[in-house]
Symmetry: C3
Subunit: 347 residues, 3 copies
């Protein structure tokens, strides 16, 4: 794809193209980082990006940059084709989409796919090899089910979903439009509920369901449990990374981002736009307000008001945690100082 | 199911029914929480439950309550059918079982199942689509093997087990009666054992096995490694949640409960009734006594005597940890106070 | 295998056999720990091993020991066949290999395996039941692909690899010679990359690839993401345990050892010989120098110079962390002491 064609496409996107110069209008085949890009590759820079100083040495074929005069100047100096966008990262994401258009897989039911009774398949549904679908399931138009996916009975998969190899969807789960479920993720498995008795743990039946709203993305190996009653619900546009555990009855708002290895215990509730960094833990029934950000490894054991940034375990305001962590390193000194003060004052 | 029928069933259970009133004897189809229940749903309350105040507003069809006069009075006031049980949570668990009786799947061997040589299948064993079973395996009566389960050679699955879709059982594993293994769990994979040499890591062969005793439950995506020699053993009635790592040679006692994302390193030993909350880590060869409770994110690097409640990393007694954590937040103040004291005393 | 035969084999190994006595030259069938070994089992001891005192009571058939006079004396006293090796653990690993020779599985393509177009299979490749291989893949000589493995298009699996049941390899991944990928691991899944916009998270296409260099081992359920551009690369001889998350664009050096449940965020770089203990977290783009060791649960948010041992979160030098952790337990006392000092000095 020539840079000039890419420019045309970016004009229809949301990254707000402001200016550009195609120079020799290179043929571009893929994207790359500034240091590693070859002459047939597109790269990009953001404001504040550490790589600005390396711009003059890049071998890239073309670059997307933010509206900064010095960057335009540098690009011109080395005859590097450039485009200025208000959001160059978004422009780069859109460009990768243009450079690597998704090959449409559709309309094929592999002969090894196993379908239960009363399965309804929409138009152009793709079922890969060895897919197994239980009774009374419906998979709507244009959804792609990769090889080895196992779907239990009474599941609804809405339009334009993509389920990757070997993921498992348990009975009665509802997967709304445009969801992506990555390999080996498990949706709708039994919640971990047991009643202590004299004779050991008595299993609480898990009769609820899991609902993924539209455009939810579930990471590789992530597990989302169904509850004993009611539902576990992942809000529209929420993105969940790999190896995350979502307990029974958890409800998340819209557009949350949950990084790898986070664990959310049963009954917890997240507002809209909550961001949980890697390895965060959220306790049973905790409520987290809209737009809260929890930094990595935080442990959240009590409710958090909206718009807070929290850290540590138990989680406290991030700024306080940073100061406490800095003091933590001085604990041996502190202990020594107190010993000395005690000596002085006891004299 | 009418409430009166449910009452009859509860009389044969272990939740200790003491009294009840069926009123209009509603038809119940499922369970729900107090706030969300409809007129065809059963709900329950426990002593100390925050929802007591909401009892007067519930739309539930019937309720299970603990022996408390004020609750009975409130239920009567709104003509809500009620039953008093010493253990209403257990009664609710039993009730969900009655309302949602397990559909018996049995006696069917799907034509796509692949069986190795010398496989012995007990009476009424169910094998789902695409199940693969290696040579010399035995699966005893009434066990249910869901689609896509992979069983290596020489595995024994005892009676009445249920293995969910896409879980994997490695060679020589022994799964005793009434175990449940959830989707994508892996039993008997190789322990992580390497000997450092001048030429890098030399693989220690993992020649041991994994044994699950009776009524063990293994969570979705959980991994239980086999050791280099000897066995990894999960004690009777122990319940393990999702995404847990059990290292090679770990031994657990009976009736332990291990929450999601816990990691137990090689050779660690747990006593009976140990409870590990989410994201806990247990170090190599650590011994944890009977009935120890470790709160979430604890890191246990040395032996713990029986009946302790521990927290933090390194784990310390829970009560001490709570006080230390409270002080942690004051570290900036502490540092400042010491600076001030030093100034005063140096005058 | 008789002990004398084992001795002959050890003479060709790397554990540096120095001396031995075969006594009654027992027939050995497997290995075991010192306390549990029977008369047909081999065991071993290391310098510093706590079990030295139990040597006199062992029922083992033979023992591998380090060059220590008192151990030889004890073995002789109880007529226990022994061998002295400089590295008895390595000798034990080699011995287990001799006692349990790998059964060669090869040359068999199970009739249920599903092959895409233009798949090239090398000599003696084994494909288990229900393996699915996409278009344009190549699997080179002597590789073993266990049942249920799913391989997307354009994947290269080099010679002598072993892929365990139900693991998934995404498109364009490159798996070099002698790699082992354990059950349910996923290689080359999409990195977690989204651009925040007014309309929610916009997906950054993940157009890069994952490369495993030679002799890499990937644990059960571990996930290794591909990046938006460029590659994620695991260095030669690196061993990764179960349920580890490797983010998009991570690069590791040679011979690293990464324990269970570690999470490494996008763009992080590890040098050679780095050891990360269980549940460690490494932040975005962090650089960790050669031979760094991070103890369990560490959180590494900034670059670490080579040869450091670090602990805690944020990670600090291990020795300092040990002292700080010891002081942490005294925080209530410290707070009290300061209150007292304030009282004294304000008088």
């Amino acid at each position: 794809m020539h840079f000039s064609e890419l420019i045309k496409s970016l004009q229809t996107g949301n990254a707000e193209l402001e200016d550009y110069q195609v120079c020799n209008d290179p043929e571009l085949s893929s994207g790359a980082s500034l240091e590693k890009a070859h002459s047939n590759q597109l790269t990009f820079l953001e404001v504040g990006n550490q790589l600005v100083s390396k711009l003059s040495k890049t071998q890239a074929g073309a670059i997307l940059i933010p509206p900064r005069e010095e960057l335009i100047k540098q690009a011109k100096k080395i005859n590097l084709p450039w485009a200025v966008l208000k959001n160059p990262r978004l422009g780069f994401a859109e460009s990768l989409g243009y450079l690597h258009p998704k090959i449409k897989i559709s309309g094929q039911i592999h002969p090894t796919a196993v379908l239960g009774d009363n399965v309804i398949l929409g138009k152009d549904v793709y079922l890969g090899a060895n897919v197994c679908i239980g009774d009374n399931c419906e998979i709507r138009a244009n959804s792609i089910i990769h090889p080895g996916v196992m779907i239990y009975d009474n599941v609804l998969i809405e339009k334009e979903c993509e389920l990757h190899a070997n993921c498992v969807i348990h009975a009665f789960s509802i997967i709304n439009k445009k969801c992506i479920i990555n390999s080996n993720a498990v949706i709708g498995s039994e919640g971990f509920g047991f009643v202590p008795t004299k004779n050991g743990w008595y299993k609480m039946p898990q009769t609820g369901i899991v609902v993924l709203e539209e455009e939810v993305e579930i990471g590789t190996g992530t597990t989302i449990d169904r509850p004993s009653v009611g539902e576990t619900r992942i809000g529209q546009g929420t993105k969940i990374d790999n190896l995350v555990q979502i307990g029974h009855g958890v409800i998340t708002g819209k557009d949350c981002a949950i990084a790898a290895q986070v664990g959310i215990a049963g009954g917890a509730q997240l507002g809209n736009g909550v961001i949980l960094a890697g390895q965060v833990g959220v306790g049973n029934r905790v409520k987290i307000g809209d737009h809260v950000i929890a930094s990595s490894k935080s442990g959240i054991n009590s409710d958090i008001a909206p718009n807070q940034v929290v850290s540590g375990f138990p989680a406290i305001p991030n700024k306080l945690w940073l100061r406490c962590s800095a003091s933590f390193k001085k604990l041996p000194e502190i202990t020594k100082a107190i010993r000395e003060l005690n000596r002085l004052t006891s004299n």
